[in-house]
């Protein structure tokens, strides 16, 4: 984990570029909001879908301007693929893949990828584990040799397991210093309960020390296989060269289980739940919201536009306008819709000085109430549509972004013509749709409200 030195570039005006970039990534990966814009969208498909010999799905987008190749994989081996009583096993397994294979030690893997100036990573997630590879074109075979090796032949050495568990536990401890993380964890727990999306640091820290090597090995064999994997490749390769390469390197990768363990329903919430967590800090970190929708919900696009107007649209959003621009009460205020395979969350996130916590919560509830009780203005909707469709080219302007969209297209079944369809989908949403979904999916009287703050100063009325 790296640390940004405070005297580097800083002091961004917005929620910061980085956060913005992160939001964008989140959108691409979680929400697949790959806006197709009015004029600038190319008519040609984004890429090609090819089923490989072993059943793995390849999405290929050739891009020959730079001699490099970007690979992004999604493997159905996230938290939802693991038994609910084993929190953390999915992420731990993912992080151990690069820590030693039948042919290479952890040190050899990092030396090889570092020597060619590339990057290789595997990490966990809610629905999917992700693997990433980036190499120069000339190092393509070294790259795939490494990627296939870590995915197909991990050995899960006990020493590496111990080391990684220690590291995760320490990292969890350190994250207690981050009030935003503390608030997010408490929010997640209240909203999702024992559902797989509700795994918190606390759950993981309690379980990992008990976890045995055999459980990891079993999870790996059950979930990692070509029939559970999607690979997107963007860069300086042709179909004729990449398909045989993949067939060769991923040959013999064993098929894995397709069915997921039964999921546990999130708890029903009947009235507002307020969680106050005391911490000796200067700002109240507020996380408020509730269960959201799944990516496949037909109302997804209307909800996304509704959220843009409410709090997702940066300086064009109502929450930002009111709480930051008019009142000067926060630097960062936004709402987000996380739509996954199963219903994710709707969440408003704000940091404000302890003393302003009540005012900010009241204002947020007011805005949620307003969008449920009156039609949005025609201009607001037109502006939201203009942004979402017009910014499409920016969402595909790097290899990594294209790879992210390709993966989303496959895992959410959006179709390779998604970029061409997108503007039409967005433009068909009406003010009445926004009103309807706001009423249906926003519940200001059934919210989880988490406030991490110096409670003495915050004097919460909630």
């Amino acid at each position: 984990m790296l640390y940004l030195l405070s005297n580097g570039v800083n002091g961004m005006r917005n929620t910061s570029l980085l956060k913005k970039v992160l939001c964008l990534l989140t959108f691409l990966v979680l929400a697949t909001q790959a806006a197709a814009a009015g004029t600038a969208v190319a008519a040609k498909p984004l890429g090609k879908r090819i089923v490989l010999e072993n059943g793995m799905v390849l999405l290929l987008s050739e891009k020959h301007d730079i001699p490099m190749v970007t690979v992004s994989m999604a493997i159905k081996a996230g938290n939802t693929a693991a038994p609910a009583e084993k929190p953390g096993i999915a992420s731990l397994t993912a992080s151990l893949l690069t820590q030693g294979t039948a042919r290479r030690t952890a040190g050899q893997i990092s030396s090889e990828i570092d020597f060619i100036g590339g990057s290789l990573s595997v990490s966990g997630g809610d629905d999917f584990a992700s693997a990433g590879l980036r190499v120069l074109k000339k190092d393509l075979t070294i790259g795939f040799d490494l990627l296939a090796d870590v995915l197909m032949n991990p050995v899960f050495d006990q020493k590496e397991i111990d080391r990684k568990v220690k590291e995760i536990l320490a990292s969890i401890q350190q994250q207690k210093d981050e009030p935003g993380v503390v608030a997010g964890e408490a929010f997640t727990k209240e909203v999702f309960g024992r559902n797989s999306y509700g795994q918190t640091n606390e759950d993981v820290a309690a379980y990992l020390p008990k976890l045995t090597r055999q459980e990891i090995v079993d999870f790996y064999h059950a979930r990692y296989g070509p029939n559970n994997a999607v690979v997107a490749i963007v860069g300086d390769v042709t179909e004729a060269e990449i398909v045989p390469l993949l067939n060769r390197y991923f040959k013999g990768w064993k098929q894995s289980e397709r069915t997921l363990p039964a999921s546990i329903d999130p708890p029903g919430i009947e009235k507002n739940i307020v969680r106050k967590i005391n911490k000796d800090i200067t700002q109240a970190n507020i996380a408020m919201g509730h269960l959201g929708i799944s990516r496949s919900n037909p109302d997804y696009y209307a909800v996304m536009i509704m959220n843009y107007i409410l709090g997702g649209g940066g300086f064009s959003s109502r929450l930002m306008d009111s709480i930051r621009d008019n009142k000067g009460l926060a630097y960062d205020v936004h709402s987000s819709v996380v739509a996954l395979k199963e219903p994710g969350s709707f969440e408003i996130t704000i940091q404000t000085k302890n003393e302003s916590a009540n005012e900010v919560i009241a204002e947020s509830l007011k805005e949620v109430g307003r969008i449920r009780s009156e039609l949005v203005a025609e201009k607001e909707l037109a502006d939201a549509k203009a942004y979402l469709t017009g910014s499409f080219p920016l969402r595909m302007d790097t290899s990594a972004k294209i790879a992210g969209i390709l993966v989303s297209i496959e895992i959410y079944n959006l179709g390779l013509d998604f970029p061409q369809k997108y503007a039409g989908i967005i433009n068909s949403v009406t003010r009445e749709d926004i009103f309807r979904v706001a009423k249906k999916y926003l519940h200001p009287d059934r919210m989880v409200i988490v406030v991490v703050a110096n409670q003495e100063k915050a004097k919460l009325k909630y």
Binding site: Y3, G11, F115, G117, L136, A170, F315, P393
Partner: protein, 439 residues
């Protein structure tokens, strides 16, 4: 989520040295307008997008104690309107056109940007030329935005124990140079800033002769350059910008600071005074940084995190894209059960090795390969390319980028050993320790 955020931060903003390398001919068109405005244009037609950036040569380096943070507050106010575009209209106009805009302030620069589909570039011309000269600086907006910046400071620094420690350590490392104070400013200074301070800062530094326009992406130079001349050429040249004369004297002995804060784990940072990008030693120090901290096979990660399991994270950061000499940081977060002292000594042990044993040929080559491939891969993003040009031009000269890789390639293991010996001395370092206090 948080971890992803930190990584995103580093990869985008800390402008990793490893990615700033070269190419013989960057195919940049350079033009200086009669009013002193420099224009750098880099056509790149691989995607139908364009980034438009304005870099002003002003940052916290141009501030005074008691008024720190003024550059950054002014940056916020640049979004608060002109006569032509009222409050809130800047970002909304950009977004309505499918664009993203933002700005950032550093020690040596304040930069503004819009990213658009390529057919929307005229909007940048209009908005940026307007706010270069016609900013309203409404008194009520100023009061409210100053509060926003205070919230920003609370979030970034005051409620983050490690950031607080690094801020204080940096303040101790410089006694005569403005790099001692944080870009965001001291909290009390933010409270006493006035609108007049901002007006003065704006008049003094926001002028074509103190700015660089960088555009990268899908445009036609022959069409765009006359448009830039039309929009910006009519803005009068401002008075000469006062030079910053401060020179940090040689450090005459180790300085140590301790920050006691409620925190879970201790952290150790050490900063060594080192030259900036304009100095020949900068290249060997870059390579050295790669050896110490680029990738999981790098020395600090391997020794402190992997083998000895003393640290949760460990690395080095050479802060050389600056107008004046700054620091080379080495740092580590302490694992539970380990002591700050053990970790500090382990950091120094790695530094000492560099002075006494030549790096292996393969290790040297690895560091160079990493720098070179990062440069090539960095070309994937037009935003990043423009950002490098803007940064280099602001603190030195963008043309340094064209020779960068060649100069890095020429670094020898003797160079690495020499710079390690010369700069990484006990007398030349400032050490910051975060000591957790728990209720």
């Amino acid at each position: 989520m948080r971890i992803i955020k930190v990584v995103a931060l580093i990869s985008l903003l800390s402008v990793s040295i490893a990615a700033m390398s070269f190419a013989q001919d960057l195919k940049v068109t350079e033009k200086v307008l009669p009013n002193g405005l420099k224009v750098l244009l880099k056509e790149e037609h691989k995607a139908p997008v364009v980034t438009f950036q304005v870099w002003y040569k002003v940052g916290s380096r141009n501030e005074k104690l008691g008024r720190t943070g003024v550059s950054h507050v002014l940056e916020h106010m640049m979004f608060k309107g002109t006569k032509k575009y009222g409050p809130k209209q800047f970002s909304q106009t950009v977004q309505r056109n499918g664009g993203n805009d933002n700005a950032f302030t550093g020690r040596d620069y304040t930069a503004y940007f819009e990213n658009f589909a390529s057919d929307r570039i005229a909007i940048s011309l209009d908005l940026e030329s307007d706010r270069m000269q016609n900013l309203l600086l409404d008194p009520r907006d100023f009061q409210s935005e100053r509060d926003v910046v205070k919230e920003e400071r609370r979030m970034r620094t005051d409620d983050d124990p490690t950031s607080t420690m690094v801020e204080q350590m940096t303040a101790a490392a410089f006694i005569a140079h403005p790099y001692q104070w944080p870009v965001i400013g001291w909290m009390a200074d933010l409270g006493s800033l006035t609108r007049d301070d901002l007006v003065e800062h704006y008049r003094r530094y926001y002028a074509p002769n103190n700015a660089t326009i960088v555009v990268a992406g899908d445009f036609d130079t022959k069409t765009l350059l006359p448009q830039i001349e039309k929009y910006f050429g009519r803005i009068p040249r401002g008075p000469a910008v006062p030079a910053v004369g401060a020179v940090e004297p040689r450090q005459l002995g180790e300085r140590r600071i301790v920050v006691k804060q409620q925190a879970e784990l201790p952290a150790v940072f050490a900063g060594y005074h080192t030259p900036d990008i304009k100095h020949a030693d900068s290249f060997a120090l870059d390579v050295l940084q790669g050896i110490l901290s680029s990738g999981k096979s790098s020395r600090l990660y391997k020794a402190l995190v992997y083998e000895k399991q003393l640290a949760l994270y460990a690395g080095g950061d050479y802060d050389n894209i600056a107008n004046d000499p700054s620091l080379f940081y080495v740092y580590a977060g302490v694992m539970p059960g380990k002591t700050t002292d053990e970790v500090e000594q382990a950091l120094y042990a790695e530094i000492e090795k560099l002075k006494t044993t030549p790096v292996a040929d393969e290790e040297l080559q690895k560091a160079k390969n990493q720098i070179e491939s990062s440069f090539i891969m960095g070309q994937d993003s037009i935003f990043y390319q423009a950002m490098l040009l803007g940064q280099f031009e602001t603190v030195a000269n963008w043309k340094l980028l064209e020779t960068y890789i060649d100069t890095v390639r020429a670094v020898t293991k003797e160079d690495v050993m020499r710079v390690a010996t010369q700069y990484f001395t006990q007398d030349n370092r400032t050490v910051g320790i975060l000591v957790p206090t728990k209720k």
